[in-house]
C-alpha cells in the first residue's frame, strides 16, 4: 500500500511505516525512551530525506509521548517536580545546542560529530548498562546478602557529589531528597543532544536517572516520557517553522503505529521486573551502537551520495 508524502516528496509503503511506529512505540512503552535514536536511522534507510526524518520523528515522539505519559500519569509514575526541572534544563540546553549545530554546520563537520557522538554515547551507556543489568538479573534469585552489597556499591562517587550540591529539595513522588542542580544539568545535557542528534534523549536520561540520581525505575520511565513530550513538541514546532520539514502524513502514520506498540510495551513493562526492563534497554542501545560502528567501518558501496536540496 503506497502513500505519497507531500513534504518528503516521495511515496512510501504505509505498512512499513506503521511497523516502524509500532516498534518504536513498543520500546517507548516498555522502557520510556522515545525511540528517536531508532526511528531516525530507520526512516533514512527507507530513503526519506534526513531533515524530514528528524523533524517528523520529533512530531511522532510528541504524539507517542503524550499518550504514553497519560498512561504513566494514571499509574502515578510521573514525578512532576523532577520533570519540570529537567524540562527547564533541556530547553536551555536545546537553545545552546541549536547554536552549536549552526557553528558545526558552517564548519562542515556536523554529520561527523553527530555520528561519533552517537557511537561514543550509545556504546558507553549501553555497555555499562548491560553489565549492570546482567549482574542484577543474575542476582535477582539470590537472597538479601546480594542486596546489601548492591546498596554499598551504590554509594558511588557521583552520588556523593550530588548529595553535596546546593538547592537540596524533596521529590516526594520519587521518595527522595536531592539537589535540583543534578536534574537541571542532566536536562541541559539532554536538551543539547536533542538539537544535535535529533533524539528525545531518553536513552541518556533514563540510565542517568537510574544509576546516578538513583530514582526508582518506574518513576524514571514516566518522568522521562513527560520531559520528552514537551521537548519533542518544541522541536517539532521549530523544525516546521524554520525548515518546513515536518511531514504530517508520515508523522500521523508513525503515531498510529506507535500507539499500538506503546500499549503492548506498557502492559509488558508493568509485568516485567525492573532489572529485566533495564536489560532490554541496554541490549537495544548496544545493538544500535554496534550497527553504527559497523556502518562506519564497512567501506561504502559508493563513496558518493546525492541529496536533493529543494523541491
Amino acid at each position: 500500500m503506497e502513500l505519497f508524502l507531500p513534504i518528503a516528496h516521495m511515496d512510501v509503503n504505509i505498512v512499513l511505516i506503521l511497523f516502524y511506529g509500532a516498534l518504536v512505540g513498543f520500546l517507548s512503552g516498555l522502557v520510556g525512551v522515545g525511540g528517536g535514536f531508532l526511528i531516525t536511522p530507520l526512516l533514512i534507510f527507507t530513503g526519506i530525506p534526513p531533515i524530514v526524518a528528524v523533524s517528523s520523528g520529533a512530531a511522532q515522539m510528541a504524539g507517542t509521548a503524550s499518550g504514553a505519559s497519560y498512561l504513566h500519569w494514571r499509574h502515578g509514575n510521573i514525578d512532576f517536580k523532577m520533570g519540570l526541572i529537567l524540562l527547564i534544563g533541556s530547553w536551555l540546553g536545546g537553545g545552546v545546542g541549536v547554536y552549536l549545530a549552526k557553528i558545526l554546520l558552517r564548519a562542515g563537520q556536523f554529520g561527523n560529530v553527530v555520528v561519533f557522538l552517537y557511537v561514543i554515547l550509545l556504546g558507553f551507556i549501553g555497555v555499562s548498562m548491560l553489565i549492570e543489568s546482567l549482574r542484577a538479573v543474575l542476582r535477582a534469585g539470590a537472597p538479601a546478602a546480594g542486596d546489601a552489597r548492591a546498596t554499598l556499591a551504590s554509594k558511588s562517587l557521583p552520588r556523593t557529589l550530588v548529595e553535596r550540591l546546593p538547592w537540596q529539595t524533596a521529590f516526594p513522588a520519587s521518595g527522595m531528597r536531592m539537589s535540583a542542580v543534578g536534574p537541571l544539568v542532566l536536562g541541559a545535557a539532554v536538551g543539547m543532544l536533542t538539537s544535535l542528534m535529533g533524539v528525545g534523549g531518553g536513552f541518556i536520561m533514563v540510565p542517568v536517572m537510574i544509576y546516578v540520581l538513583k530514582m526508582p525505575t518506574k518513576i524514571v520511565v514516566g518522568t522521562s516520557l513527560f520531559q520528552l513530550l514537551f521537548t519533542t513538541a518544541a522541536v517539532s514546532v521549530m523544525q516546521a517553522g524554520v525548515n518546513h520539514s515536518v511531514d504530517p502524513f508520515l508523522a500521523l502514520i508513525l503515531i498510529l503505529g506507535s500507539v499500538m506498540g506503546t500499549k503492548l510495551g506498557a502492559r509488558l513493562g508493568a509485568r516485567l521486573p525492573a532489572e529485566k526492563l533495564r536489560l532490554i534497554l541496554a541490549l537495544v542501545v548496544v545493538a544500535v551502537a554496534v550497527k553504527m560502528v559497523v556502518t562506519l567501518v564497512i567501506p561504502p558501496a559508493d563513496i558518493y551520495d546525492m541529496t536533493i536540496e529543494v523541491r
Binding site: 513534504i7 516521495m10 507517542t64 555520528v115 515536518v246 500521523l252 562506519l296 564497512i298 551520495d305 546525492m306
Partner: protein
C-alpha cells in the same frame, strides 16, 4: 484507430507547429498536459503520439526541470568511513530520458548528438565551489552515475512504437519521486545521420489535492502549521491511548 486517437490527431493538426527549417512535417501530440501528484501517486505513464512522413528514425528527449543537488563524498579516517567534502551541483535537469527507435550512437554522429544534447553524460552541470578540472570530472562522473542508478537519466530504444512508417506512440514511464515544474518533450526525426524534423512540446507536473494544500500550508504558514500539527499529533496520541483506557476502567 480509436476515436480518441483520431480526435487527438485532428486537434494536433490544428496546432501544428512548423519548425523554421523543417524538411520533414512532424506532428506530435503529448497526450498529457499536466501530471498531478496526489496521495496515491507512484509514478505515471506519459504518452506522446505523433505522425511523420516516410521511414525515418525517431528520438524523443524528455527533460525535467532543473534541480539543485548536493553530492557528498566519504573519506577514510583511520578505520572509519566518515563524511568528507560536499559539492553543490546546479543546472542539470532533474530527469533526462532519451527514447529512440534505435541506439542513438548508431543513428547520429557524436557532433550531432552533442548539438541536440543527446548524451546522458553531456548535460552541463555547474559545481559550487569551483574545483580543479580533474577533480570536477570525478564529481561529474559520480553525479551522472547516481542519476542513472536512481533511474532519472536513461536511454531506451524500445519505448517508441512506429506503425506503418507514419504513426508513432512513445510510452514514457515517470518515477514517483518527481521534481515539480515544466517538462519538455523534444521529438527529432533522423534520416541518414542528420536531424531533419523537430517538434517541442511540454507538460507540467504539480502537486494536487490535499498534497498541494499541505505543502502550501507547511511553506506559507510554517509556524502556525507546525504549532497546530504538533498539537494535533499530541491530541491524537493522547486520545488513542486515553479513550480505550477509560472504557476499560
Amino acid at each position: 484507430m480509436t476515436l480518441g486517437l483520431r480526435c487527438l490527431l485532428f486537434a494536433a493538426t490544428w496546432t501544428l507547429q512548423l519548425p523554421a527549417w523543417a524538411d520533414e512535417p512532424l506532428v506530435v501530440a503529448p497526450a498529457t498536459s499536466e501530471v498531478r501528484i496526489t496521495t496515491d501517486f507512484t509514478g505515471t505513464e506519459v504518452q506522446a503520439i505523433g505522425s511523420m512522413r516516410g521511414p525515418a528514425d525517431l528520438i524523443i528527449k524528455l527533460v525535467g526541470p532543473q534541480q539543485e543537488a548536493k553530492l557528498s563524498r566519504e573519506i577514510k579516517l583511520g578505520p572509519f568511513w566518515v563524511g568528507g567534502d560536499t559539492v553543490k551541483m546546479e543546472g542539470a535537469p532533474s530527469l533526462l530520458f532519451l527514447y529512440a527507435t534505435a541506439p542513438i550512437a548508431t543513428i547520429l554522429p557524436p557532433a550531432e548528438q552533442q548539438k541536440y544534447g543527446l548524451q546522458l553524460e553531456g548535460v552541463p552541470v555547474h559545481l559550487e565551489p569551483h574545483l580543479q578540472a580533474h577533480a570536477e570530472d570525478d564529481w561529474r562522473k559520480a553525479f551522472f552515475r547516481l542519476k542513472e542508478r536512481q533511474g532519472y537519466y536513461h536511454e531506451d530504444d524500445t519505448a517508441i512504437k512506429v506503425f506503418g512508417n507514419r504513426l508513432f506512440i512513445a510510452d514514457m514511464r515517470l518515477p514517483g519521486d518527481l521534481q515539480v515544474g515544466t517538462y519538455t518533450v523534444e521529438t527529432l526525426v533522423v534520416k541518414s545521420g542528420k536531424v531533419v524534423g523537430r517538434n517541442v512540446g511540454e507538460f507540467k507536473v504539480r502537486l494536487a489535492g490535499i498534497e498541494r494544500r499541505v505543502w502550501s500550508a507547511a511553506h506559507d504558514h510554517s509556524w502556525i502549521f507546525g504549532g497546530l500539527f504538533t498539537l494535533l499529533a499530541m491530541l491524537l496520541g493522547f486520545a488513542l491511548n486515553a479513550i480505550p483506557y477509560r472504557r476499560s476502567r
